[in-house]
């Protein structure tokens, strides 16, 4: 397990850079896959590490997207500042929501995350002056990254910009997973009943995880808004929440490279299937989620670990 967790980061990065040179016509797709990976990693902190489900994680993704779009419309066009603002706003929103998400039992937690998701969707839909309602926001222009790199038509800047954010998030979460806090989250996942019996502040741990997770999701949303020059309602919709859940699950919950692989693979599949019709993508989501419960319980990462173990035993 440790082998996969630590060792897969660098090859993945090399693959991404190789993609830049080998498939220059697909840079936009790559960029969107990096962003999906950031989003899936943020969600996996909850589901994979702490073992709590959320059905409304797109709320933070969408909040991040709208934050940077609205700021850009009002003159704050520098992308990195926009990202930071999105991070802060989404994390604050998550912090406020922990009050109702972290308490309660499994059923109420599902209910609340779902309800908050629909509530935010409706709110964004109504606040037309701020969000553009159903039309979304596209009348903004991002400045050059750090005042140096202009977003170009081929998407080269967007590619490296998103990849840089993904690498930072990946590294941060990798450190977090191995930290005492990461261990405490796994403790909650493995046995939430024992945690108070060792003096652990379970609610505070979950609130911290939720805040960090919300902030990173906001980062992902802001990246998408900046690189696609668009922020819209579907960015905080229920379907996006369900998708991210599937990506984390399929990649192998709790494994950072696994989640990146899951997000990339499914993101690509979505791109291909949606080109036919969204209904086939939804059918795909549905079947994959149902099957994931019965086969491939550890996801891609679990399968890879099992394979490595078998190869080692043979050697």
């Amino acid at each position: 397990m440790r082998m996969v967790r630590v060792g897969a980061g660098l090859p993945l990065l090399l693959l991404a850079v190789a993609g830049f040179f080998l498939f220059p016509e697909y840079l936009t797709l790559f960029t969107s896959l990096f962003i999906l990976s950031v989003f899936a990693l943020s969600y996996d902190l909850l589901q994979g590490h702490a073992g709590v489900v959320s059905l409304g994680h797109a709320v933070f993704f969408g909040t991040g997207a709208y934050t940077t779009a609205i700021l850009a419309r009002h003159g704050l066009a520098e992308p990195v500042l926009g990202l930071l603002a999105a991070l802060v706003v989404s994390a604050l929103l998550a912090l406020v929501l922990t009050r109702i998400v972290v308490v309660g039992n499994d059923l109420t937690r599902l209910l609340v995350t779902l309800g908050v998701g629909f509530l935010m969707f409706e709110a964004a839909n109504q606040a037309r002056d701020l969000t553009g309602g159903a039309d979304g926001l596209s009348d903004f222009t991002m400045g050059p990254v750090l005042g140096l790199f202009r977003f170009d038509f081929a998407g080269e800047t967007a590619f490296f910009y998103s990849l840089a954010v993904l690498v930072l998030v990946y590294f941060f979460l990798w450190r977090l997973a191995a930290s005492p806090f990461g261990l405490a989250l796994r403790g909650i996942r493995e046995n939430v009943r024992r945690m108070p019996a060792i003096g652990a502040p379970v609610r505070r741990h979950l609130a911290t995880a939720y805040t960090i997770s919300g902030g990173i999701a906001g980062l992902a949303g802001a990246l998408l808004a900046q690189t696609s020059n668009f922020a819209s309602l579907d960015m905080l919709g229920f379907e996006r929440s369900a998708e991210v859940m599937m990506m984390a699950t399929l990649g192998g919950t709790g494994s950072i490279p696994g989640v990146v692989l899951g997000a990339t693979g499914l993101g690509y599949l979505k791109d291909a299937l949606s080109a036919m019709s969204p209904k086939y993508w939804q059918l795909g989501i549905g079947i994959v989620l149902m099957l994931s419960v019965f086969v491939l319980r550890g996801g891609i990462a679990g399968a890879a670990t099992a394979l490595i173990r078998r190869l080692r035993e043979r050697a």
Partner: protein, 253 residues
Amino acid sequence: MTPAIETAGLTLRYGNFTAVNDVSLRVATGARHALIGPNGAGKTSLVHTLTGNVPATSGTIRLGGEEVTTLPQAARVRRGLTRTFQINQLFRGLTVLENVSLAILERERKTRNFWRSAAADRAVAEEAREHLAFVNLDAYAARPVHALPYGLQRLVELAIALGTKPRVLVLDEPAAGVPAAQSEAIFERIHALPRDLTLLFVEHDMGLVFRFAERITVLVQGAIMTEGTPAEIQADERVREVYLGRRGHHAAA
């Protein structure tokens, strides 16, 4: 001297059912105190209310003189009152070492840190290994808990509790579910715990109780029936009746 634990009129009700009935219990510091009683006498319920798993309906609980009646479980643990569970409550997917380290990290409040590596904390790892050595599990440190046989998992249960550095340790049937030979070994380890650590334990096996307890409280239908030294309890007709009566009931059923 202030008792390690003292309850007054402690009561726990579920609807019409009274699980713990007006229990006033004193456990002296450094005691080896057993809690016995027939099935359904409310022993586990009493443990739940003492340690804060379930809030008491009425009455008070004092820990070393300080009232803790309304404190949540985690806060009681931080004041030195730790329990183990009758049915293993372990972090099954984590390694044995991680199970114990987590308890230490929480005690030291190091779990707020999300940047340093947990495994690289030497002091914590060293202490965790000491606890594991105490329960003879040092050889299993790197194994995931679910891969251990049940009897050894019972010892992990104990080692985790030690990681919280308790002043009072409440053990709910520490040898439940393991063969007699192994329960002997578990109690031998419990017996070897430092004398300044107060022990309150629930146990079914009277042989073990009379050997390891220095004081015994008998619980019947949620209330204290009697309390005394092992010799006194052994000689008590009523206690014998409760246990014989229970056996008679079993034979009838």
